[in-house]
């Protein structure tokens, strides 16, 4: 009896235990399942937003590149015709060459100016002035590029602009800033760099602040002074910052639109016409949305290729502490 009773109670215990274990395992699995889904639930709005407003337009844009569509009539499939026409279009070709030239000059100026000013502000100025200049140099970036360009257009007017008036005070004749290829390219670059160097400047300020003072002290002990310290200490240790700043500056510069559009409308001729301007003109002025998408796809591929090349090269030139 007792054995049977013991056996029964053991069996009951086992059953109960098994029940509990099963019940416990089920609860834990549900918890795990919930834990697995919870992050997705939180991410869902972002994913949905990115999907709807970023991914979907990208996919649609790539698909559109294979269609002819004027937004009035129904789109018609044209295969690679848009790409073929775009490649043969001299205006598109010139605009890409202009964009690359612009990137080379503007990014070099932007980074050079930002780095020079960052070193000057960080090293030469008292703390209270540093705060002022950090804000002052960043300020143009928060202004509307279109508003700045309209204002600059007045400043650089050949007949009545302030810039030529100032030049006339020192005997320099009026410069046709916005009506000659060289003048207009110079103004577009100048305005763009003035407005955008502030971001690179802030990145460099951050980078400079992260360089340990001991490194400079060690360099001084080794006999390095003045610019040699910057060449042999600052620049190598800033290389990660420089990589980030240059990647961002190049991607931004490849998409330049506001300044040339407002200042020169791409002229004179095609002197300041850029790739994004041609996308805008194709889509919203000529209603060739397929061709505009094709140019957009090509520009995206170029941006991706340049960025990839930068990261590949960074393995050689970027020094991480």
């Amino acid at each position: 009896m007792s054995t049977a009773t013991t056996g029964m109670s053991t069996a009951r215990r086992n059953k109960t235990g098994s029940k509990r274990r099963n019940g416990g395992a089920t609860g834990s699995e549900k918890g795990k399942q919930r834990q697995r889904w919870l992050p997705w639930a939180f991410l869902a709005p972002t994913i949905l937003g990115m999907g709807l407003f970023t991914l979907l337009p990208i996919v649609a844009s790539v698909l559109l590149a294979f269609f002819r569509w004027d937004i009035i009539s129904a789109p018609s499939f044209v295969g690679f015709d848009n790409f073929a026409e775009v490649v043969q279009d001299p205006t598109v070709r010139v605009s890409f060459v202009n964009t690359i030239m612009f990137v080379v000059v503007a990014v070099a100026l932007q980074l050079g100016l930002a780095l020079g000013l960052a070193i000057m502000v960080q090293e030469k100025l008292p703390a209270w002035l540093r705060v002022f200049f950090r804000s002052a140099f960043f300020f143009p970036l928060i202004l509307s590029a279109a508003s700045v360009s309209i204002f600059m257009r007045y400043l650089f007017n050949e007949q009545f602009g302030v810039v030529n008036w100032l030049l006339s005070l020192v005997g320099i004749p009026a410069v046709p800033w916005l009506t000659t290829p060289a003048g207009s390219a110079a103004v577009v670059i100048l305005v763009y760099v003035w407005q955008n160097f502030g971001f690179s400047f802030l990145l460099f300020i951050g980078g400079l602040a992260s360089i340990p003072t001991e490194t400079y002290e060690a360099a001084s002990i080794d006999g390095a002074t003045g610019w040699r310290k910057h060449v042999h200490v600052t620049l190598p240790l800033l290389s990660p910052t420089t990589l980030v700043a240059s990647v961002m500056a190049i991607i931004n510069a490849l998409q330049v639109f506001d300044q040339p559009y407002v200042l020169t409308r791409g002229g004179p001729g095609d002197a300041t016409r850029t790739a994004v301007m041609v996308i805008f003109e194709s889509a919203f002025q000529r209603l060739e949305f397929g061709q505009a998408s094709a140019i957009g796809v090509i520009l995206t591929l170029i941006i991706m290729a340049i960025t990839a090349a930068q990261f590949r090269l960074s393995k050689r030139f970027v020094f991480y502490q």
Partner: protein, 472 residues
Amino acid sequence: MAGSNGTLREISRRTALGALGAGIVGATVASWPRLSGIDIPGRGDNSLSIAILGTAADAAARQRVIDAFTKVHPEIKVKVQAIQAADWKDFFTKILTMVAAGTPPDVVYVATEGAQLFAEKLAHPLDDYLRRDAADMKEYFADVHPSLVEAFMYKGSLFQLPIDWNAANIYYNTSALQQAGLERPADNWTQVDFRNTLAAMRKARPQDFTPYYWTNRLFGGVVPWLYANGTSFLKESKSTGGEWLWDTFYGQDPSRGLRSGGYQWLESNADDPLVYESFDYLRGLVKDGLGVRPEEGGGNSLVGLFASNRIGMTPAGGYWVEGLHTAGMKEDGFDVQFFPRWRTQRHQFGTAGYAIMKTAKDKDAAWEWLKFASSLEAMRLVFPTPNTTPARRSMVNEQLYAGRGPKHWKVFYDTLDKFPTTGPIPAPPQQAAVETALMKNVSLAVSGDENQLKQALASMQRDLEIALRRQA
């Protein structure tokens, strides 16, 4: 109890989450129609929606016309939608975007620049309405010059009724002219007289003064010079048709024989020697410091500069008068004259009027709006000041220009009467591409040497050929 409580709590949480999710989905589905443009005020209530280029203030300024229209047609609700845009090209782009979004307006105020684009793709011809209401419309056409009407003919049909217009006349600063020791130019002055006038102005005021300021635009840029020289950058032809309209409304007009089924611009003409000659003339003005290198799309600061006596002459239309008055220029501080004569004295003009969209919900209501908007009553309400030239001859009178000038305001409408071949801005359905092709080459053409001019015109010819090949 504890167990049952736990179960209840678990079910309750699930239920709550489920209900929340279902609620979000349900609300989204239920409110989905509200996410469409139909729910923008005025769109879903069967109002006649009218799109104009301008600001909310411009829309408000039309309220008196809407009120007057509503008195006549209480059954038609009207909403005016002002669309801000940098220029007409930008405005048309925005209208096309509305069309693509499935929320097109019923009626659009369209200028010459877009007349053929709309006629080709978007607008509904007015022919049947005009035939039906010919008796009502005779008074309107009797008051409007046929050149303006012809600008809205396309392939034999009329698509718009001209409401306002402007020709490229020459505005001159009277004090600059006096300082140069010159009298008002003659009506038939030539391009040589024009240049001599500029040279005299320059001599009298060598500093801080520009004798001839012009901008690189489709209206008032290089085109008036091309027209005056008997050419254009596009080959101009006319289509057949429309006889019924001319016979019905302009049978007795002396220029009846000139009228057609509408303008056509099918080929590029930048390689015409007369085009070269015209550009070379302008290049000479720039080279000799008599005229500016034109900035593309410039002109925003022009009123201020002219009103401050720093510009001698500039091409502009009647729309400038109110601007100069507002800028403080006295009525005798400026005056207007016809564009100089070259091989011809053909002028360039632009006009604007309402077009009924093919997609309009109620075309009959839209036509009633067009008819009313072209009436003397409505146009008097819309144009109390000379910020444009009304299409009706009877409104271009001393009263309109009183206290504002110019002294020779009659020049505005006389341009059409004295030079009946005066033509519209060349704007085929591919206008945006054509305009870009023209404007991008003008600055280079007039800024360098002869070689640069030849290269710029060759480039213009090529760009125009590409532009005209494109679908509208």
